[in-house]
Subunit: 386 residues, 2 copies
C-alpha cells in the first residue's frame, strides 16, 4: 500500500483590528473586516501532518498526542471543501490517485501550551487546511484556501499569510469574498516585535463564539462599531502598515482593543475579558508612551486577559527595559538573557506586585506564513509516530 503524506507548520496571528461578531455562524462570516500580525513560529506554531491511503476507511485526528477523531462540524466542513477541490482535479486528470475518496489522517501538535489561551485554534485550523491542501496538491492561491480555513475558525484564515494580514469581511451570502489577503509581507516592516504577558486568571472566560453572539444580539454600541468605527479604522490601519507608521498603527491597535472590550462590556449580560492585571498593563503602556512623548508600544487583548504588546525593534531596550523591571520574576526571559544588561532602566512608577498576576512572558516577533517542513508526525503507515 502507498501512504501519501504532507506536513506544514502554521503560525498564530494576533489581531490589531479585532474580529468580533458573526453575520453567519455556520460559514464564520464576520460583521467586520479585521487586521492581524502573524507571529514567528519558533515561539508559537502548530505542526500538522496529513496522510491518506486507499486503505484508510475513515478520517481521523490526533491532537497533541490524543486521538480526538473527527467530531467537530467545523472540521468536517473544512474536509468537505478540500475534498471537493481535490475531486475537481481528479475529474480533470484521471491519472491522479483518488485521494478525495480515501480517509485522511491528521496529526497535529502545538509547540506551546493550549491552556495559555493563545488563539491556538487559528494556528490549528490553518495548519490542518494547508497540510491537506498540500497533500491534495491543490493549485489554489492562499486567499482561496483561506476561505476554507475560515470555516474552521474565523481568525484561522489570517494565519495563511505571514506579515501583516487583512481578513476582508466580504458581502456575499455564501462567503466567497470573505477571505484573507496580505496587507504587507514580513519583509516590508520586519522590525515588529511582540511581548506576550500571559495573565493568570481563575475564572473561565466566555468562549468567543458565545460572546460574539451575545454582543451581536444585545449591544447597542456594537452596531456603531461595525458600521462606523471599524470600516474607517480598517483603511487607516492598512495605510499605517504600508507607511510603517508605528505611532498611528499603535494608536489604532490600542483603540481597537479597547473598543472591542467596550462592546463586550456593553453586552447583556456583560462580558469581561480584561482583569485587574490586564488593566495595570494597559496603564503601564500608556505611561511609557506618555514619558516618551510618542507611541512606542501598543497593547492588544483578545478574548482573555493576556496582553500582547507590539513594539519596534529599535525601541526594544526601552520597552523590554520597563517590562523587565516590573515582570522580571516571571519565566520567559531566558531568551534575552544576553540583552538584559542593555535594557534601559525606567523611572516609571508601577505596582511592584503586578508580576504576581502574570504566569510568563513570551518574547516573539512578526513571522512568516505556513512553512513547508521535513518534520513529519506520521510514520510509514500513516499513523502518529508516538
Amino acid at each position: 500500500m502507498s501512504v501519501y503524506t504532507a506536513s506544514t507548520t502554521a503560525p498564530v496571528n494576533i489581531a490589531t483590528l479585532k474580529y468580533w461578531g458573526k453575520r453567519d455562524k455556520t460559514l464564520n462570516l464576520p460583521t467586520n473586516s479585521s487586521i492581524s500580525v502573524t507571529l514567528a513560529q519558533e515561539d508559537l506554531r502548530t505542526l500538522t501532518s496529513a496522510a491518506t491511503s486507499s486503505t484508510f476507511k475513515k478520517d481521523n485526528l490526533w491532537l497533541n498526542g490524543v486521538e480526538e477523531g473527527i467530531k467537530g462540524e467545523r472540521t468536517i466542513a473544512c474536509l468537505k471543501d478540500l475534498r471537493k477541490l481535490r475531486k475537481a482535479l481528479e475529474d480533470a486528470d484521471s491519472s491522479l490517485p483518488k485521494f478525495s475518496e480515501w480517509g485522511v489522517h491528521i496529526v497535529s501538535e502545538n509547540n506551546f501550551p493550549t491552556a495559555a489561551g493563545l488563539a491556538s485554534s487559528a494556528a490549528g485550523f490553518a495548519a490542518l487546511v494547508v497540510a491537506i491542501a498540500k497533500l491534495y496538491e491543490l493549485p489554489q492561491l492562499m486567499s482561496e484556501i483561506s476561505k476554507i480555513a475560515r470555516k474552521g475558525s474565523g481568525s484561522a484564515c489570517r494565519s495563511l499569510f505571514g506579515g501583516y494580514v487583512a481578513w476582508e469581511m466580504g458581502e456575499a451570502a455564501d462567503g466567497e469574498d470573505s477571505k484573507a489577503v496580505e496587507v504587507a509581507p514580513l519583509d516590508h516592516w520586519s522590525s515588529m516585535k511582540a511581548a506576550i504577558l500571559v495573565v493568570s486568571d481563575d475564572k473561565k472566560d466566555t468562549p468567543s463564539t458565545t460572546g460574539m453572539q451575545t454582543t451581536v444580539a444585545t449591544s447597542d454600541l456594537f452596531q456603531y462599531r461595525i458600521k462606523e468605527v471599524v470600516p474607517r479604522r480598517f483603511e487607516e490601519m492598512k495605510k499605517s502598515i504600508v507607511e510603517r507608521d508605528f505611532e498611528t498603527f499603535g494608536d489604532l491597535t490600542m483603540k481597537d482593543s479597547n473598543s472591542f472590550h467596550a462592546v463586550c462590556l456593553d453586552s447583556s449580560p456583560p462580558i469581561f475579558y480584561l482583569n485587574d492585571t490586564s488593566k495595570k498593563i494597559i496603564k503601564l503602556v500608556h505611561k511609557l508612551n506618555e514619558q516618551e512623548g510618542k507611541i512606542i508600544a501598543a497593547y492588544t487583548f483578545d478574548a482573555g486577559p493576556n496582553a500582547v504588546i507590539y513594539y519596534e525593534e529599535q525601541n526594544e531596550n526601552k520597552v523590554l527595559g520597563l517590562i523587565h523591571k516590573y515582570f522580571q520574576k516571571v519565566s520567559g526571559w531566558e531568551k534575552v538573557a544576553n540583552k538584559v544588561s542593555t535594557f534601559e532602566d525606567s523611572s516609571i512608577e508601577f505596582d511592584t506586585e503586578a508580576y504576581k498576576g502574570v504566569s510568563r512572558i513570551i518574547l516573539t516577533k512578526i513571522g512568516p506564513g505556513p512553512q513547508e517542513t521535513s518534520e513529519s508526525l506520521v510514520n510509514e503507515q500513516g499513523l502518529p509516530k508516538y
Copy 2:
C-alpha cells in the same frame, strides 16, 4: 446685630441612566439627559446651615468640621446666582433686609464618610443651594433652583427632588432649560430599595470631570451613546417608572451602567472604574435574575467600583438572602439583624472570598428630597457650633 439662618438636609441620588459628558464645562451642561433615584436621608445625607448678617464681611464655608473658605469657582457661581435672585426680591420690596449685599456663612456635614466615594458632591451642592435659597426666601420652584445646583455639580440638580428624578439636558446655550424634574414622587413607587456594596480599591479613580472630558474628546462609541442609545432609553426608563415595571427598569439600569463603563473603556487612554470585585457582583446579580427567571435586582456603578443594587421590597428576602450569604462578614448588616432569619437561603454558587473586596454594605431605600430641619450647625453668632 441680627443673624438670619436656615438649615436643610439634602439627599444623595444614584443615577440609573448615567450622566457622562459635558457640552459646557462652566455651566455643567450635559451631553445627555439622565435619570436617578433619590436615596433615604437617614443613611446618606448632607446637613447644611446657612447664615447671613450685616456684619459678615465675606463668605465662608465649613465642611465636615474644617474651615474650607469659598475657593471653588463652582461654589462662587452658585452664590452669585442665588444673590441675583435675592437682589430681585429686595429691589421689588425695599423693606427686605439686604442679604444680597452681606456675607454668607455655610456650615455643612455629611452623615457618611466622604471617602466611600458615594457622590457626596451631589448632596453637598444640593444642600448648599437649598439652604441659601431658604435663607433668602426665594420663591422659585425647585426646578429653577436645580439649575443653580447644577452649576455646582451636574448631578446635584437631581438631589433637589425625592423619588424618581430626571435631569433634562436642555438645548439652550445658557443652560436655562437644563434642569431637574420629577419623574414620579416617592409615594408612586415607594417599595424601591438599594443595597450599596462599598468596594475597596487601592487605586485612585480618574475624577469624573476629567474622565468625562477624555471620553467626549476621544471615544467613538460615545457619540452613538448620546445620540442614539440614551435618548431612546430615557423615554423607556421614564415609562418603566410610571408603570412601576421593575423588570424593564432594572434591565435598562444595568444596560446603561454597562454602556457608561463601555464608553469609559473606549476612551483614550481608557478609563476603568469597575474592578474585579465589581465584576463579580455584576455576575452574581445576573445569576440571581437568571435563577428567578426575571429581573428582581439591578446593579449600577458610578465613577468608581461601588455597586448599588436596586430591588423591590417584596424581593428583599431573596436579594438580601443572596448578598448576605456571601457578604455577611462585611459591616452594615446590624440594621437588618432582626430580619436575617427570614432571608432565603440561596443555592447560587459564588466566590466565597469576594467579600474581602468589600468594605461595608449600606442598606437603604428610595427617599424624599431636601428636608426642612430644626437642627442647625450654626450658633447665634452665625459660626459653626463646634
